[in-house]
């Protein structure tokens, strides 16, 4: 029997309850929400199964609710509750079959408070279909291409129907299982679904919470913070600023390198002298008081250390400063290969208070060796250079310029990581981290 277009309601052939007929001519099964009888809509609403009514799922959407999605009016005609159990965990969601006289059948899924809209995908995919066996055999995340997008494997789920009510364009049976292999694209998800009787490809997209109100329903009090289909909220920073900031950062680094590599003028050099000659005095003349003067100390410590005291007096024989430098260099080889730490060199920088003759005094305060392989400090050399510059402030400025694009990139990276966090595929790199 095919229903006349004029018929808007029937009586349940099992319990006699009045049932609205909302689902159009391709409805094959109508499950009575009052008694749980599954009626064959193509055969005089004959009772074909009887289901339990106690497991009614909690969902804001109810049979008969209508609302617009992308300008098309859909009506909720059926509801199916699913459960997936794996490794002691349980996930539940409700699929609502919706119908539009002009656009046919689709699904609204309520999952963790989110609303997902799915439609059958009829265009070609490459490959045509993916099963859980394909996924098991794959050595890398399976990919699927469509005309418009590229999809990467997300998860495989095998779920069981626990409840059904309303009209469907197929015959859901409580207890039946279906396996879906889902692949995630930039904005939507492609699911290859397989049950005992049919195969189908569906395209799913996240709907904003306001859609509940469009259907006259109240949005769930809470929704999970993350859903793989939630769109990434892009910060509206014009590309110009990102590009300009990057170019300014490059310019700052170039200028910084130019300043860092300025050698200055060597005003005094003490060649490698035996340590036994310390304390030693080094006299030199400084003429540039505007830029930095650098005292560079080089030693030959090897698995050993030395503490050198440095004192400088100005042309009036008044002390300018005293300072100390611990210089230590250690090296060796272990299970991970060769290693080293510390340095054989040290520097100190200052602005000369006046031009004239200065006197630098170096004293060995302490020294020692590390383990038996240590070679005590034997020779030391000193170089004094004036007219030096520093690139540090420009490097910091470059970091400041890169902060905004860097934060945007970091935000995108974190959002992408969170988006994929629910995937059941573990890459080898992720595995190594554990």
């Amino acid at each position: 029997m095919t229903l006349s277009r004029a018929i808007r309601a029937i009586n349940c052939t099992n319990c006699g309850a009045g049932l609205d007929v909302l689902g159009g001519g391709r409805v094959s099964t109508h499950v009575c929400p009052y008694c749980g009888a599954a009626l064959d809509a193509q055969d005089n609403y004959r009772v074909i199964a009887q289901y339990d009514r106690t497991a009614r799922p909690d969902s804001p959407l109810r049979l008969g609710m209508s609302g617009q999605i992308n300008g098309v009016t859909f009506t909720v005609i059926g509801s199916i509750a699913w459960v997936e159990r794996y490794a002691g965990q349980e996930w539940v969601w409700v699929d609502h079959q919706v119908f539009s006289p002009s656009h046919g059948y689709a699904w609204l899924t309520v999952e963790d408070g989110h609303l997902i809209f799915s439609r059958r995908y009829r265009k070609p995919t490459e490959p045509d279909f993916i099963t859980s066996v394909t996924v098991e055999r794959s050595e890398s995340r399976p990919m699927v291409r469509t005309e418009a997008d590229k999809y990467t494997y997300y998860e495989t789920s095998t779920a069981m129907i626990t409840y059904a009510e309303g009209e469907f364009n197929w015959t859901p049976k409580v207890g039946d299982r279906a396996t879906a292999v889902s692949l995630l694209g930039d904005e939507d998800m492609l699911s290859f679904e397989q049950s005992a009787t049919e195969r189908e490809v569906e395209l799913s997209r996240w709907l904003p919470p306001e859609t509940y109100a469009v259907f006259g329903a109240e949005a769930p009090a809470r929704a999970s913070r993350n859903h793989p289909l939630m769109p990434y909220k892009n910060l509206r920073l014009p590309r110009y600023y990102l590009l300009a900031a990057a170019l300014l950062a490059i310019l700052a680094v170039i200028v910084g390198l130019g300043l860092s590599t300025r050698q200055g003028v060597v005003v005094a050099r003490l060649p490698a002298v035996p340590i036994s000659t310390l304390p030693v005095e080094l006299s030199f003349t400084l003429s540039d008081t505007e830029k930095l003067t650098q005292v560079a100390i080089e030693t030959d410590v090897s698995n050993s250390w030395a503490y050198i005291e440095v004192a400088l007096t100005d042309p009036d024989d008044r002390p300018v400063f005293e300072a100390g430098r611990e210089i230590g260099f250690y090296h060796g080889r272990d299970g991970d290969g060769a290693w080293s730490e510390g340095s054989r060199n040290s520097t100190l920088q200052f602005h000369a208070p006046m031009a004239g003759n200065y006197l630098l005094e170096l004293t060995l305060a302490e020294s020692g060796t590390w383990q038996r392989s240590g070679a005590a400090l034997d020779r030391i050399s000193v170089t004094v250079t004036e007219g030096r510059s520093s690139g540090l402030w420009l490097y910091l400025l470059a970091g400041g310029f890169l902060l905004v694009p860097g934060l945007i990139l970091l935000r995108y990276s974190l959002a992408n990581k969170r988006r994929w966090s629910g995937s059941d595929w573990v890459d080898e790199d992720d595995d190594d981290d554990d």
């Binding site: 300009a244 900031a245 300043l259 300018v320």
Partner: protein, 53 residues
């Protein structure tokens, strides 16, 4: 458009300013230099005959 030009001017000005600081090494003196140094002997303390006690 004005904002874009302003952003570029501010950025280039910041580079010019930090280049000046970097060229003269301002703020790059070693921070561990002890400049509070005794200049020499305080000399004889008057009235003690050279003795503190």
């Amino acid at each position: 458009m004005i904002l874009r030009v302003l952003f570029l001017i501010l950025g280039l000005s910041a580079i010019a300013g930090t280049s000046w600081l970097g060229y003269y090494g301002i703020g790059r003196d070693s921070t561990d230099l002890d400049k509070s140094v005794r200049a020499g002997s305080a000399g004889r303390v008057i009235g003690t005959g050279g003795r503190i006690k």
